[in-house]
Symmetry: C2
């Protein structure tokens, strides 16, 4: 399996995040990608390729051009405002009762307008890293379009929380959605299987009214877990997308027997959609030792997951999402991918 990777991910290097009620050390950090890269190199997974530059028109079919322009210019605005901090957080959002229709002029207003959380710092290199991550995903999709049976987009920052016009959950561009869109452009029917511990609210929202991309997610019940405000079982899509969104929220503490039942339901749903390609949003945070998550998959379970995904009959693109147990992250990721390959 070929891997696509860009060292530009390290341009996004946050030090803090706001979560669990307070300011904490960041967990979405460059060593995550480095650990995964080292593990797949050690496992001999296959060739590692750089990404091709992303087509801006494709980027702007998934993301609002005004949002893309915001991310491209926000750090210059931060500097122009005389701010010396090396990371920036929004602090007010257009929640219900406030106006969702006007992007303010002010930097803080714009940060809130284009985000939905306070846990996702902007840094000097965020745009470059996010663009590289999106390019990695789309290049991976290109490998599938060119006939590969599988590919691994080693994306960082992750993408599945990013909405068409809002960042959050450590995500800026929705890498999996962009990859899916690239495959749709290739004439394929696409399914996205999101196995990250957290619901991929961005992916769901982006395709919610579309029938050509089937979105299935296994995740912690949003009543109990981030992102809290999307990912319930009654969200089934709307309009052309009605029936093309499937959420499988699980109670905290889910282990492989529980989790793998949801996986079979997910794969059954995907099979009925008859996709020509599957994009797997590969979060490794269902892992039992993940520092911010509460599922109980073991490293062996990740091998089981990979082996099961290897029985999907159409090409599969893996897109790296979350996973914060840095020491084990690489091994668990490699376990999925090598087991997929039959290793």
């Amino acid at each position: 399996m070929k891997t696509v990777f860009s060292p530009a991910h390290a341009r996004h290097h946050p030090h803090h995040e706001i979560s669990d009620g307070t300011l904490k050390p960041a967990v979405e950090i460059p060593s995550r990608a480095e650990m995964v890269l080292a593990a797949i190199e050690a496992a001999g997974l296959g060739e590692i390729l750089p990404p091709e530059p992303i087509d801006r028109a494709l980027l702007e079919r998934i993301h609002d051009p005004a949002y893309v322009a915001f991310l491209e210019t926000v750090w210059d605005a931060h500097r122009a405002a005389g701010r010396a901090e090396d990371e920036a957080f929004p602090f007010v959002w257009p929640t219900p009762g406030l106006r969702p229709d006007r992007a303010p002029r002010h930097l803080d207003g714009r940060m809130g307008f284009y985000s939905f959380d306070a846990g996702t710092p902007l840094t000097a290199g965020t745009f470059e890293a996010a663009l590289a991550s999106a390019s990695v995903a789309v290049t991976g999709a290109g490998l599938i379009a060119a006939g590969e049976r599988s590919a691994f987009a080693l994306c960082r920052p992750p993408g599945h929380h990013a909405m068409a016009d809002r960042y959050g959950g450590y995500c800026f561009f929705n890498n999996a959605a962009l990859a899916a869109e690239r495959l749709v452009a290739d004439g394929r029917r696409v399914a996205i299987l999101d196995v990250d511990y957290h619901h991929g609210n961005g992916t769901q929202a982006i395709f919610y009214d579309r029938g050509d991309v089937h979105v299935v997610s296994i995740h912690a019940d949003p009543d109990d877990e981030y992102p809290y405000f999307l990912g319930h079982a009654d969200e089934i899509g709307e309009g052309h997308g009605e029936g093309a969104n499937l959420n499988l929220p699980l109670a905290l503490g889910a282990d492989w027997p529980v989790w793998s039942q949801a996986l079979e339901i997910a794969l059954g749903s995907i099979e009925r959609h008859r996709p020509d390609a599957v994009v797997v949003s590969l979060g490794l945070d269902p892992y039992e030792a993940d520092p911010i998550s509460h599922f109980r998959l073991t490293s062996d379970d990740f091998s089981r997951l990979g082996a099961r995904l290897g029985r999907i009959e159409c090409p599969v693109l893996f897109v790296l999402e979350g996973g914060y147990a840095v020491e084990a992250l690489g091994a668990n990721c490699a376990a999925v991918l090598t087991a997929f390959e039959g290793g």
Copy 2:
């Protein structure tokens, strides 16, 4: 002029806030109220009274009972979650595209569901302080109802950003709205004049579809200032409230000549409403030396403001809102109130 004050304000004692892109020392701190109290005592403004307990039914006519219950129990939930920090911040909100209709079970989800910013920490004593502040405002309204020509509700925490079911902007209960509701219950037509530097988004939203409370606000243009997502000139009320909301947003840097023109427009609008009582949301942050604001009123201008308000023909209740230049806050507040009294 009688003043209502409760020392319970000091139970809300935050140390930090998130603003201007980063975690900073809190500016909405107990010394604010102490400075104001000392200044009005020094000025001999009049008797200082404790508040009467607030009528819960009145509180729940302005605020969603579920929101009141959330504020009442959130610190116990914080402790029950094993959190040791002495202040708590939400970190994700139901922005557009996320679901506004389901309060999550989880503490962090609930904090986001019931707030709109990250700049307003919850602390152990927040509910008691906020309830006392609301009681101060309503007791002040009771003085007007009992026939006083004027009264001063020395409220802290402030209130005008608090919405029916969301806290933010250092505000938890909307003191001015509760005072107005108390006067409405007394059969009065009420106008609220909000002179705080920041738009009173909560006050506007609470009365937006009501014709019995006329809301007029002079504030920094929300394109350039917090709260960014409400306070534009085109927000005129709706339904029964159409025409009963007037926003006078001003460019940053406004000084007395500019500001006082807006004041005349505001007072003209209020006069046409023919109120039986006026509630003044008295923010002192239009002050030239306020650390987080960008208007240019001088201490003399606050005397001019007080003298002008003294010409309002119906009873006036002053409700303290913002103002963060702690050293000058008391003097500027006393300047308004003594000039109102003709001093």
